[in-house]
Amino acid sequence: MGEVYTADLDQLIRNYDKLAQLSQNQRYNILQSALSLAEFDETSDMMAQLDTSFLETLYIDSFITAYKADLQSLRQYIESRNAAINKIVITNTISIYFYSRSLKRGQAQQAAVAQMRDFQEFITHSEMIKSKITPQQLANLRKNREFKELKHQIWKVNHDEPYQDQEGGDQNGDDEEDIVLSSQSVNIICPLTKKPFEHPVKSSVCGHMFSRDAIYSMFRNNAQTQCPQIGCSKAFSKSQLERSVDMESTVKRELRKRSRSQKDPDNITDLS
């Protein structure tokens, strides 16, 4: 009997996983829309609307997570009960006596308390979802890491300089790294292919960047390679190459700038 209950619960939990996935997809879509919008007008009112939509999905996410946790604790409770019952069935009468005693006295009481608390949370959570998001909650969600990442990415569409968190965010080591990257960002040409980077990867040993497929061809016969950059005497292995998301967006931005200036008839120089 107990198994049936947990199977139903598992289904419910899976449903919440799906919801979380949908919510994540939604954020991805919003991010893509915001990036496209930023190419035309980053000061557009629509940008603020997209911000709010993004925050709302985060808000919904918090329910999904809470509900899922509720269901999981309920499931755990039922399982522990099932386990106890199964043990009772297979043990002898003396054991039954002890088990029932312990169940009555300790576990059962604790379990009952846990169950009560869970139901209380269910009620709180379901009350929350009926309410509309308040400005205060919205403001709090702006501090969310995912939201900051969104703003950061939108910023990078049109700016070379590192993103300054308007919320007065913390200046940590990561920002310093960004400055180094953006000062190099003028050069988006891979020294191996002599073309703009495709899937740029960065050597963690010396910091030099290459297009992924080109540098991978250096490892065909060797586990390690000398850095192909002229004047660099470092050596590294394939595993010491990291994907450079920053360079990816820099290349995107630079290429967009170039295609824009090519469309501009006053700007055509020598296209031969």
Binding site: P191, L192, T193, K194, K195, D213, A214, S217, M218, R220, Q226, P228, Q229, I230, S272
Partner: protein, 158 residues
Amino acid sequence: MSDLALSRLAEERKSWRKDHPIGFFARPQAGADGVANMMIWDCGIPGKDGTPWEGGLYPLTLKFPKEYPVKAPLCLLPPGFFHVNVFDNGQICLSIIGDGWKPTISIKQICLGVQDLLDNPNPNSPANSSAYDSFKKNKAAYTEKVKQQAKKFPPQES
């Protein structure tokens, strides 16, 4: 595969067309069928003014292996070329296209490197005994030989 080699050579071609040092040329060899063979390039290296090499446009052939740019191209001057660091078969002994090869080195850099080598031979790794002996023992005869050779390679109109 050699996708990288071909696309890199196409980019080298583009960048050479856009900008290359004065007096030099470099282009893929035209095959028998008239189609360019990207893996073999014909180049012309002018001797530097004010040196005995002046006035010559030395034909340099670059043969690119399919592993290019991981591996260096084979760089050949005409067989029997008179230079301390050029083997009988014309192969050039030069660090940047030998042990010191870097996949980032461009065709332009190779050409400039070869031009520089002409009047700055490296006596520490001689490849041509007659040029080496002459260079070491009889500078005047050496210079004269170089000047004579320059006349054999007049710049062609192209």
